[in-house]
């Protein structure tokens, strides 16, 4: 208990937000107040919140733009699916299998993140961003030609087609190249997602508040000054990058085991960008902002259903307007002026009524 209170002392408001969010939705769904489409969105919301937190660690805390975060998510997702399918017979309990899948997915994504960070962190600025984009596309392309099957002898891997895996007749195909994973047993639950989210928050917030986190932020604010103080830029940026990749992998595993079918194409450039949008709209470096923005923006297209065909158009306009209002002084002044006038008017009406 003491350890837990010590671990959660930084940014405790975020834990409260997450637990409240869970409680509200749990009550709403048990009393039957949420639509089925929203119920289906609960795990994706948690996944995107975790993705936003993970990307915020790179973009906000470490100060490097990453445009390939969906790549780590896909590594985690497909690793998780393979792990779950392999352990299906030996561990019948879904929750325990999910834990294994998430842990191994995170480790795999972390290893890939480490391998990628070695070349990536030699660059800076927009060049670094484009290389992460390139790696994201490469991961997607490689997964597109990956075939994995399972039979009584174990796992089989091929980069050509199902037939070249030479499986026994009882073998099942887990990954089918561009068709992705088919027939995955869904074991992700909203509760397990919330637990993972709380763990991720503990990891990130304690990392940021630690000596290591301060070093990462110092290097973000002024790399030259930081290095002059004896901080190794590569080492600290790598810590942030690999942690972030591993967290993205864990979120990916949760995501992958929430659907019965999943294609590698799902994790393309647009998904990476979507997560970046959450981070920027929530406020770069602000974890609470990331949580709220990711949750709201995942549900927003759902809520804009009344606009029907126009909903993505409205989404785009909302996005542009929010960026302009939050970043342009004139627009901000105009908005606050408008709000003030509105308030004055309502006060006047209030007194007139009396």
């Amino acid at each position: 208990m003491k350890l837990l209170s010590k671990l959660t002392k930084n940014g405790y408001q975020n834990y409260i937000i997450v637990i409240l969010f869970f409680a509200v939705f749990q009550i709403l769904s048990s009393t039957g107040h949420i639509s089925n489409s929203l119920k289906g969105q609960l795990v994706p919301i948690v996944v995107y919140v975790i993705m936003a937190l993970s990307l915020n660690l790179v973009v906000g805390i470490s100060g490097e733009l990453s445009l390939g975060h969906a790549g780590f998510m896909s590594v985690g997702a497909f690793t998780g699916i393979i792990v779950s399918a392999t352990l299906q017979n030996s561990i019948p309990n879904g929750s325990i299998r999910l834990v294994f899948a998430i842990v191994i997915g995170a480790v795999f994504a972390g290893v890939i993140g480490f391998l990628i960070s070695v070349p990536v962190l030699r660059l800076n600025g927009d060049y670094l961003a484009i290389v992460t984009l390139a790696f994201g596309e490469i991961i997607k392309n490689l997964l597109n030609i990956t075939y994995v099957g399972l039979d009584s002898k174990g796992l089989h891997l091929s980069t050509k087609d199902i037939a070249s895996m030479n499986m026994k007749p009882d073998g099942i195909t887990i990954l089918n190249g561009p068709m992705g994973a088919l027939g995955t047993v869904k074991i992700s639950t909203f509760f397990s997602g919330i637990v993972l989210l709380l763990l991720v928050l503990i990891v990130i917030q304690n990392l940021v508040a630690s000596r290591c986190g301060r070093a990462i932020m110092a290097l973000r604010d002024n790399r030259i000054a930081g290095e002059a103080c004896g901080l190794s830029a590569t080492k600290y940026k790598m810590i942030a990058f690999v942690t972030s990749a591993a967290i993205a992998g864990s979120a990916g595993a949760l995501y992958g085991l929430n659907y019965s079918t999943l294609v590698p194409k799902k994790f393309d450039f647009n998904t990476s960008i979507l997560i970046l949008v959450f981070v920027v709209l929530g406020g770069i470096g602000n974890m609470t902002g990331s949580i709220i923005a990711a949750a709201l923006l995942t549900v927003l297209p759902e809520m804009l259903r009344t606009f029907r065909d126009y909903r993505m158009l409205v989404y785009a306009i909302v996005l542009i307007l929010v960026m302009i209002v939050t970043n342009n002084e004139k627009a901000r002044d105009a908005l606050t002026g408008l709000l003030r006038r509105f308030r004055k008017k309502s006060v006047k009406e209030g007194t007139a009524n009396e």
Partner: protein
């Protein structure tokens, strides 16, 4: 072998034209304009409509597409990017993504998601046959268009007053303003030129690959952006070189290694080049002052 090279040059020329738009905007406004790929798509659709519905010839419909895209570029710049002139680059990036979503979904509403088959606008010119080698007319027109654009842009930035203003703004905004250059107008003109080029690229791209969808522009957009970085972002000859190399590499990878892995190979080459030359092939190394 030669056929592949010609296809590569043709595809590379399209990338080069798109990359020029990216690189010019980046050089001057220091922003990654992710909506550029979608301007290409709009250009393609406008040309499609003007030939199919209005019955215009190839050259008038291309010119029409250029005009529409130029106006679109100016309007987008005025409404979405200009208010963010002093904001962080990430804010501008997200706005560009918003514009990209907007254009894609607007196209989806106007033209629906069904792919349109684009009429080959340069099909009336006969293919050139040398012995057994057939050079498609599309490839010839694309390469020639690319060379002309390159020449015109070099002349423009080197000789004219506006071109010199552009170079000055890209070097130092503040100092350019002190010298009496209208920075805002220069940036608008850059957007206009970039978008006009995107329209030409759209017509050429769709002539070579005649399926037109609201998402047509996004992958060539990303590839051209890669090409711009490959050659050194901000440099006009760099964009040209990067685009052509990228196109050739892509076609050869498709032909000799694997169709599915060709994109991965293109990106892998980019990564290797950036590791050896961190600012691209022709990029200038700007050392940071302490």
């Amino acid at each position: 072998m030669l056929t592949y090279l010609i296809n590569g040059l043709s595809l590379g020329s399209v990338y080069a034209i798109i990359a020029l738009g990216y690189t010019m905007v980046y050089g001057i406004a220091k922003m990654l304009n992710f909506a550029h790929g979608d301007v290409i798509m709009i250009g393609g659709y406008v040309a499609f409509c003007s030939t199919s519905y209005l019955g215009l010839g190839p050259i008038p419909s291309t010119l029409f597409a250029v005009v529409v895209c130029t106006v679109l570029g100016i309007v987008v710049e005025r409404l979405a990017y200009k208010p963010l002139r002093n904001a962080t680059s990430l804010a501008v990036l997200i706005t560009a993504i918003g514009v990209s979503y907007f254009l894609q979904n607007a196209a989806l509403l106007i033209w629906s998601s069904n792919p349109k088959s684009f009429p080959n606008l340069v099909g009336s010119i006969p293919n050139v046959v040398i012995g057994e080698l057939v050079i498609p007319s599309t490839a010839i027109v694309t390469v020639i268009a690319n060379l002309l654009i390159m020449l015109a842009l070099t002349m423009f930035t080197g000789r004219t007053k506006m071109g010199k203003a552009m170079r000055a703004v890209s070097e130092d905004k503040g100092a350019a303003q002190l010298m009496g250059i209208n920075v805002n107008r220069t940036i608008s003109v850059t957007f206009a030129i970039g978008s006009g080029l995107a329209a030409i690229a759209g017509v050429l791209l769709c002539s070579a690959y005649p399926t037109l969808m609201p998402t047509t522009g996004s992958m060539p957009g990303i590839k051209a952006f890669t090409a711009a970085v490959f050659g050194g972002i901000g440099s006009i000859p760099g964009a040209m070189l990067g685009g052509i190399l990228l196109g050739v590499i892509e076609i050869f990878a498709k032909a000799y290694i694997s169709t599915q892995l060709s994109d991965a190979i293109v990106f892998a080459v980019l990564i290797v080049v950036l590791l050896v030359k961190p600012t691209g092939l022709l990029g200038k190394k700007v050392s940071e002052k302490v």
